[in-house]
């Protein structure tokens, strides 16, 4: 049985990776799962300098989901490279660094700095709903998507994944813009902008007022967007948004994703990633699928 998939020349042992920001840099979850068994670890967003993030409360639970407004707190690229990267290098898994920034220059600074580091791919987050500048502002305008992709590609030594925002009228426009800019891979979806009000305290549940909605609640929107994008572009897609089970992961693959990321599910079940890999194998045995690649985009 073959579980290996190929993302722009990078071969993953299996299609299951972690979703940025939900798995730290892998260390905390390594108490629960063997990182060697993951297709890739995608890190929390890394900026050129340390970011403080938003005030608390930063999260709120919603029906079948959660809202977060962490605001991309991170130690910056220097500490990431000194501390987290060596930790990850100990494992036989691919390393994908999620990159965030406020300006194009910020992104390029990180991309350049990482170009000589043992990082397999870069995921450019142009879709964070929780920061005032950068983030989502880039991800909602096709011209900006294309421009930033082009810039990043100029400096990147590793394949570039552009992470798209679902908070747009037409995801195919953004997917095509990233492709036109030279993106090697797309990942989607980042969180949907949401809000929760605590009716008893009569106040916003997260200090930032709005936050990003994730979890199984959003899966149907994510699957739809992956399907639409897969029909619109030729580059591979990493699908995510609410994956809790092997069936959920397979839904994204059947819709056209080459790989998948598991995010919020880690909070519900720290063993989620490896259980999903096991469940996908069971499915392949049950339906006599020799190669996972047969399933990519198989429902049309």
């Amino acid at each position: 049985m073959n579980m290996k998939v190929n993302l722009a020349g990078v071969e993953l042992n299996n299609p299951v990776m972690t979703a940025s920001g939900t798995f730290g840099s892998g260390e905390e979850y390594s108490e629960f799962v063997d990182l060697n068994r993951l297709g890739a670890v995608v890190t929390k967003g890394v900026a050129s300098i340390p970011w403080t993030g938003n005030p608390t409360p930063r999260i709120a639970e919603t029906y079948g989901g959660m809202i977060n407004a962490i605001g991309l707190q991170n130690p910056g690229m220097d500490i990431f490279i000194e501390r987290d990267l060596p930790f990850l290098k100990k494992y036989d898994t691919k390393i994908i660094v999620n990159v965030c920034g406020k300006t194009t220059e910020d992104y390029i600074e990180v991309v350049e700095r990482l170009s000589h580091e043992p990082v397999d791919m870069l995921e450019i987050n142009i879709s964070c709903p929780n920061v005032k500048e950068g983030g989502i502002a880039f991800g909602q305008d096709p011209k900006a998507v294309e421009a930033i992709t082009k810039e990043v590609k100029k400096y990147a030594k590793q394949p570039v994944i552009m992470k798209l925002s679902p908070n747009v009228t037409d995801i195919t426009v953004m997917a095509k813009a990233a492709e036109a800019g030279g993106a090697d891979v797309l990942s989607m979806i980042n969180t949907l902008t949401g809000m929760k009000i605590d009716v008893n305290r009569r106040a916003f549940a997260v200090a930032n007022k709005t936050g990003g909605l994730s979890g199984p609640a959003i899966k149907p929107i994510a699957v739809r967007m992956v399907y639409q994008a897969a029909c619109a572009v030729r580059i591979p897609i990493i699908g995510m948004g609410g994956i809790m089970t092997a069936e959920d992961a397979l839904e994204f693959i059947l819709a056209g994703a080459t790989a998948v990321s598991v995010g919020t599910a880690n909070f519900v079940n720290p063993y989620a990633t490896t259980e999903i890999i096991a469940g996908m194998k069971d499915y392949m045995v049950k339906y006599q699928i020799e190669d996972i690649n047969e399933l990519i985009g198989a429902v049309r």
């Binding site: 920001g21 905390e28 999260i59």
Partner: protein
């Protein structure tokens, strides 16, 4: 071993006061490693609620591998827990967090253990495990719970807002009324209480440890949801944001800012 998530069995459930419950859980994998001041994540059985509820370890029976939590009904999750009966399944993860530094209250030291409301439970396991001299100050709105269980470990002073027992007022009022002195303070309770204890300890230069609270998602330090402002740089991001779930919940008083 390390942290573990298990589906295990409720051993007993008792109502201690209006809306306050005590549950014993079979959890040897966790009690084997647990320290006073650590907490567990309790998951609801309702699949529309994804996130775990952090609840302090109130007591452990290390021999039997039994773990006790005492909790107040604050919303739908704790409401659900309160309906569990002996024999029911409960999903928990732990032990989480750092716990209280027992050496700070070792033999020869005089420790003041201060609990406010639903911050009282973790002080019980601490009282059982501190080798120094202990005095307890427990603050309630009105109805008492757990207070008698502290008696074996030292003098126990009460404060109630209603005045129905002990000092009328809060834990600080009780401390003043009885002129309680100590080398070290351990405290858990509502933020305003922690704030005034912090001010008192800093002013009187008493070593002081506070157990903090914040909304959590992962419970293990990965998501950065549960940070509190810290005077030192935090280990993770070096931005003065310590994670309550991993760097805490127990912090030196001078280390945290409100």
């Amino acid at each position: 071993m390390g942290k573990i998530k298990i589906t295990t069995t409720v051993l007993s459930q008792d109502r201690l006061a209006d809306g306050v419950y005590s549950m014993w859980i079979d959890a040897k994998e966790i009690t084997d490693q647990a320290k006073p001041g650590q907490f567990i994540s309790v998951y609801t059985g309702d699949s529309s609620k994804l996130l775990p509820r952090p609840i302090s370890i109130c007591e452990t029976n290390q021999n039997k591998g039994h773990l006790r939590i005492v909790y107040r009904i604050a919303g739908e999750g704790t409401e659900e827990f309160s309906h569990y009966k002996a024999g029911d399944q409960v999903i928990i993860m732990g032990p989480l967090g750092n716990g209280f530094p027992l050496e700070a209250g070792a033999s020869g030291k005089k420790a003041l253990l201060i609990g406010g409301g639903i911050g009282i439970p973790p002080m019980l396991e601490l009282a059982k495990n501190l080798s120094g001299t202990k005095q307890m100050v427990l603050g309630y709105r009105d109805e008492l719970f757990l207070n008698e269980e502290f008696l074996p470990y030292g003098d126990t002073f009460l404060a109630t807002e209603s005045g129905s027992a002990g000092t009328r007022g809060n834990v600080m009022d009780a401390i003043r009324e009885h002129g309680l002195q100590s080398d070290v303070i351990f405290a858990c309770g509502p933020t305003p209480m922690l704030k005034s204890i912090r001010a008192y300890a800093l002013e009187n230069q008493i070593e002081c440890y506070l157990s903090m609270e914040e909304k959590m998602a992962c419970g293990i330090g990965a998501c950065l949801a549960c940070v509190c402002k810290s005077s030192e740089k935090d280990e993770h991001s070096m931005v003065h944001n310590k994670r309550v779930c991993k760097d805490g919940p127990v912090f030196k008083a001078k280390e945290v800012e409100f």
